[in-house]
Structure formats: C-alpha cells, structure tokens
C-alpha cells in the first residue's frame, strides 16, 4: 500500500517535471509557432543562474525562483530583438538560427564555467510514507507545476494582456488594425516564454545538477510533449505531460530508465499516428 502511494507520487512528480520543462516551449512554439531549438539552453542558463546566485550567498529561494526567470527573460528579449524578429514565419530559417544559438550558448557557458557538473542541494528534507521516504523537493516541484500552469492560464484568460497576445497570435494584421503593435506583443510573449524556461531551469537544477549540455536531455522531451499536446497550448501540454510522464515513470519502475524513455517515444509516435494534429487537435479543441 505504502509502495503504491510512493509509486503514485513518483508518477505525479514525473508528470510535473515534464510540465515544468515544457511550459516555456508551449508559449514559444505552441502559441507563437517559433521552433526554438535553443529551448534546452534557456533551461540551462536558468540552472546556471540559480547555481551561481546561490554560490554568491544569495537567498536560495530568490536564486531558484526569482533570478532565473528574470535573467533568462532578459536574454530572451535580446534574442528576440536580434534574431527571432527577423525570422517570423520562416520555420526552417528559425530552426537553423536557434540551433546555432543553442550551440553558441553551450560553447559560451563551457568557456566561462567549464564543462563540468555543478549542483546545489535540494531544499526541504524528506518526509515519510510508512517505511518509505520521499524527497520534499519532488513534491514542491509538483506544487510549482500546478501554480505555474494556473498563472499561465490566468494571464492568458483573465488579463487584457493575455487577450491581446492570443488575438495577435491568431491574426496579427487584425490586431494591428485595432491599434495593437504586433511587434511588441511578439517580443513580450517570447520573453515570457524564455522566462518560463529559465524558471524551469532554476527549479530542476537542485535535482539534476547543471552542465552546459544539460539542455539536450530536455529539449526532445519538451518538443514531444508540446507537439503531442496539439493546438491548445496549455491544455495540450498538460494532457500530454500527464500521459507521457506516467508512461515514462511506470516503465522506468517496471524496467530501467532506458526502456522508460523508449516507452515515452513509442507512446508519442502512436499518439501522433492516431491523432496527427495532437491530442487537442481532436479532443478539447476549444480549450486554451
């Protein structure tokens, strides 16, 4: 019984991790249709921000939750201004440019901080379930994923800024005709997506450790999740994370981490074969 609870908690935390690493991409790719191959590096930069800040003696919560989104959001704004802005609507060019950007980030960080793993200890201790112990930080990640999803939902659904952003993504010319500057909206949305990615990097840093190439471990999963999710970016990402995260964790439990990842890929392929436009291309189409 206790074991079942522990397994269930692991599944939930597996799902939460997927949600956290995919949300930023859901905004940038799901909403803006920008194929950002540097998404993993935004995570990595967030992780480094958290580690460096806490190494400087800055409060742990400040360095995990506040600084990474600020720093990476700023970097995102600069990247949008210099690179992405020139490439809207040019998918292949964007892929090439962001791939180059990702290599540049990896190379730059390697030069600055060396190609080695660093980490910080996870806050919170552990708590017991029967004779099992579970890391408190895992549960904090679950909470964080819920809060983040709620914030994204609330901003998009309840604020004028969210309405304008959604409207601009649907029809930029109409939005412009109504007096909105699409350029500004695109820039702000991209920066927001980058900030979410940065925050994700800060959040996972205590669990995974930080390394210049850590992004590569997450980018494929993030893309698979967002693409499997389909058109409704938030609902799609959440549903896809739920399905894929459960499959990943269950198979990791039953076999090894290798087959866990294999199962995740197989699941994604089957889903996309059956629902080529993603889960929300068929179900929950009107959701956000």
């Amino acid at each position: 019984m206790d074991y079942a609870v522990v397994v269930a908690l692991q599944i939930v935390s597996g799902v939460a991790t997927l949600v956290i690493v995919s949300l930023g991409l859901a905004v940038v790719f799901g909403m803006m249709r920008v194929i950002n191959l540097a998404h993993g590096e935004f995570l990595m930069l967030g992780g480094y921000t958290a580690i460096l800040a806490s190494g400087q003696g800055i409060n742990r919560w400040l360095s995990i939750l506040v600084l990474p989104p600020l720093v990476v959001g700023l970097i995102g704004a600069v990247v949008e201004r210099v690179l992405i802005r020139r490439l809207y609507g040019r998918m292949v060019d964007t892929m090439l440019a962001t791939w180059g950007l990702s290599l540049a980030f990896i190379g730059g960080v390697t030069m600055l901080f060396g190609n080695s793993v660093t980490g910080i200890s996870a806050p919170f201790g552990s708590f017991g379930i029967g004779r099992f112990h579970v890391a408190g930080y895992d549960m904090f990640l679950v909470l964080a994923s819920v809060v983040l999803s709620l914030i994204v939902w609330a901003v998009l659904k309840l604020t004028p800024a969210g309405l304008i952003a959604r409207g601009t993504m649907q029809n930029a010319e109409m939005a412009a005709a109504l007096g909105v500057s699409p350029e500004r909206v695109y820039a702000l949305t991209f920066a927001a997506g980058a900030a979410l990615s940065g925050l994700a990097g800060g959040l996972i840093a205590p669990v995974s450790g930080v390394l210049p190439t850590m992004g590569t471990a997450y980018i494929a999963k993030a893309f698979i999740t967002v693409i499997t999710g389909g058109a409704a970016m938030l609902t799609g990402t959440l549903v896809a994370s739920g399905l894929l995260g459960s499959v990943l964790t269950v198979f990791t439990f039953l076999t090894t981490p290798v087959f866990g990842e294999v199962a995740l890929l197989v699941m994604a392929i089957v889903l996309l074969r059956l629902l080529p436009r993603g889960i929300t291309g068929r179900f929950l189409r009107r959701a956000l």
Binding site: Y3, S13, G114, T118, S121, F124, V207, T249
Partner: protein, 415 residues
C-alpha cells in the same frame, strides 16, 4: 643597401618567432637530442572530466618532474595531450593519430572501459605501447597493454566484506550501463554471495541519467542492508544528492567502487557525501612520507589549480608513467618490445600509494588497497590491505604462456 618592406617584415617576423620559440628551443637544447614523444588521451571535458582533469594534471606533473631530472636516455620527454571530450569516436581518432602521426613511444590514456576497448585494438595493431591507469573491471589479457589500476579482486573483494561485516549481508546494486558497470556488478554479486548474502536487485543507468527518483523508491521497497554503487561520471552524482534529499542516508548506507574516483566527494555537500565508503588503491589522504612529499611538490607546482586527487586515477597515471620510465631506463631503449620485456621482469616502485609491482603474467599490478570513508568531503582510511595481487585477471590470463592472447575475459557468475 635598400631595405624593402618585405625584407623588413621578414626580419621582424623572424625575430618575433625566435623570441617566442626561444624557451622551447632552449629547453630542448639543454637536454640535447630530439624528444621522446608520449601521448596522453584523457577526457578534459564532458561528463567524464571529473576523472580526466586529475589524470592529466598528474601526467603533466610526472613528465615535468622527469624532464627536470634530465629526461630519459639523455632525451627530453615531449608530452602531447589530447582531449577526446568524453566522446568514444574522438578516442579512436586520437589513438590512430598518436600511433601514426606522432609515433608515440607510449600512450597513457582511456578512462572508461568503453574508451579503453575502443583504442586497445588500434594501439595493438600499430604496435604502440599502451598504459591504462584506471581502476576497472579486470580481465584484459593483451601483451601490448599494462593496466596499473586496481581490479575487483583487489577493491570489490575488500569493499563487500566491509559492507557485510558492518552493515549487513544483503545489498542492492546501482551501476553505470556499460561494460564497467555490467561486469563490476557481476563481481559484486559474486563476493556478496560468497559472504553469505543476497543481491536483491541490480539497476543499470546510462551515463546521462539524472533522475533517480523511481530507482530510489525501488531500493526502499527492496529493503537492502546497504547499497553498492558503481555509478560513473558527473550526471550520476545526482543519485547521491537525491538519496540524501530523500532522507535515506541514515537508514541505508552506501558503499561504492567509484565514489571519490573523481571529485564526487567535493562536489557534494558534507551532509550528502558523509559516510559513503569506497575502496581504491590510493586516496589523496593516504598518510606516508612519500605521499606527503609528492603532495607538497604537486601543490607547490600547480598552486590553486591543483585538482583534488580523490581516488586512484590521477595517482595511478603518475605511477604508470614512472613505471614506463623505469622500464625505458632498464631497457636503455624506447623500443616497444624491449620496454615490454623490461616491464615483464616485474619492475617495482615505491610510490606515494605504496609499493607497486608489475605482474608479468597479467600485465596488471600488485598494490596496496584502502577502504576509506568520506567525512566532511575528505576520505579517511578505515582498513588497509597491503600488496594485493591481481588475482581476478591472473585466474584467466597468463601472458607468459600465451603471449599472443588478445581479449578481455569476463568473470563467469551464475545469476
């Protein structure tokens, strides 16, 4: 005389060039003749850099020390370091380069067993002598290679009895998913059974896995007396971190064949690393006069840049190079076969890690083994086992009788 612009430029360039080259030329001139080329192939970057950095530093140090003492056979040593970036493909490329382009007298290199097995056939084919200075799973039987690190009969054979005596009989194994982890876990299983215990389960993890949550729950469900880890590289350090975060340090202790081989104990906080027990043929903290003198010189030379010489990898590289140098002195030649024959006389050196002797039949070494526990980010020796022969490899390999053998034997454990 008119001085054209081109002449002037040439003069300036030549002057600048010779100024830059002067230190190099003078260093070689001081020792005369053309240098003996030694190649090092160790990962200076990537996930394995935690092992590569101390190995490279020790090889550099050993070469400088020898050059300062007059080189070998009146010739200076020229060390060429390659960085394969934790990438097996680059290993094969650099090994070929070392053998064909550099015509190296000896190659010191390889960290993971995967990289060793990638370059061993290449160096054998090109008749280039190869030193592998890492603790590994044992069983390599090839006259062209000398393995100077400890093997399971030397380290696992000491670690498992320690675990069973102090913590309990039944263990859970977590290991890296490639030949080192696969074979070492078999050795651990063998010794655990011989000690009357059981291996509850063995879990393998690819080198880039960082999420150990499910594994940690599985381990708790299995209720072992101890966990034995053969995890490798930077990503796997997450295991120890997540283990501590789950609050399991007090209930289930960890022993490891790899922990401390790099700088794992420094990267982890004391709360995360304390109490983990490892077995190696050297720890930086080993207390003897030779080691004290070595560390003094090492730190005087490298200053703040001196890496922590955790487990044996760095020290074994230093010893491996000196064993080769001693053999060259005795052979009075850098010819491969002459040096191999000299080494096969059973060369023995007193080193900071204790006495190390080449075992002629297996091309492995007899060495001292320490079981040590991690306290406050440093190791403290708990038990010492002087002069342990490489019994595992010796049980399957006899190069004196079969000099042409070329394979890696695997221990046969019925699981």
């Amino acid at each position: 005389m008119t001085l054209s612009r081109r002449d002037a430029l040439n003069t300036v360039l030549f002057a600048a060039g010779s100024t830059l080259a002067a230190p190099a030329i003078m260093r070689h001139a001081a020792l005369g003749a053309d240098p003996i080329k030694v190649v090092g192939i160790h990962d200076a970057s990537g996930g394995l850099d935690i092992y590569g950095q101390p190995m490279i530093a020790c090889l550099d140090f050993a070469v400088d020390e020898l050059n300062a003492a007059g080189g070998l056979l009146g010739r200076p040593i020229q060390l060429i370091n390659y960085d394969p970036q934790s990438n097996i493909q680059l290993y094969t490329q650099f090994a070929t380069q070392a053998a064909t382009k550099d015509k190296a007298a000896v190659v010191h290199g390889g960290i993971t067993s995967a990289s060793r097995e990638a370059i061993r056939p290449i160096l054998r084919r090109f008749n280039t002598l190869f030193f592998y200075n890492t603790q590994y799973e044992g069983g390599v039987c090839d006259r062209n290679i000398f393995c100077t690190g400890s093997t399971p009969a030397q380290n696992v054979n000491k670690l498992v009895p320690y675990v069973q005596k102090h913590w309990g009989k039944n263990v859970y194994i977590v290991a890296a998913d490639y030949n080192y982890g696969q074979i070492t876990s078999k050795w651990i299983t063998k010794y655990v059974r011989e000690g009357g215990g059981q291996v509850l389960s063995v879990d393998f993890f690819p080198l880039d896995v960082t999420n150990f949550g499910p594994a940690i729950s599985k381990i708790q469900a299995a209720k072992p007396d101890a966990v034995i880890s053969a995890l490798v590289g930077g990503a796997h350090i997450s295991f120890y971190r997540q283990w501590a975060a789950a609050g399991l340090k007090k209930s289930i202790p960890i022993a490891s064949t790899t922990f401390g081989g790099g700088n794992e104990n420094i990267l982890l906080s004391p709360e995360e690393g304390d109490g983990i027990v490892s077995a190696f043929s050297y720890f930086q903290e080993v207390d003897n006069p030779l080691n004290k003198a070595f560390l003094e010189k090492f730190h005087a030379k490298l200053g703040a840049k001196a890496p922590y010489l955790g487990g044996e990898l760095g020290m074994r590289t230093y010893i491996g190079f000196n064993l080769w140098a001693e053999a060259v002195r005795r052979a009075k030649s850098i010819d491969r076969m002459e040096v191999i024959k000299a080494l096969e006389t059973g060369i023995s050196l007193n080193t900071p890690a204790g006495k190390t002797t080449i075992d002629a039949k297996t091309h492995h070494t007899t060495l001292d083994v320490f079981v040590a526990g991690c306290t406050n980010q440093a190791f403290r020796a708990l038990e010492t086992f002087p002069q342990q022969p490489p019994l595992d490899t010796a049980s399957v390999c006899d190069l004196a009788a079969h000099p042409n053998e070329n394979k890696q034997y695997e221990v046969d454990v019925k699981i």
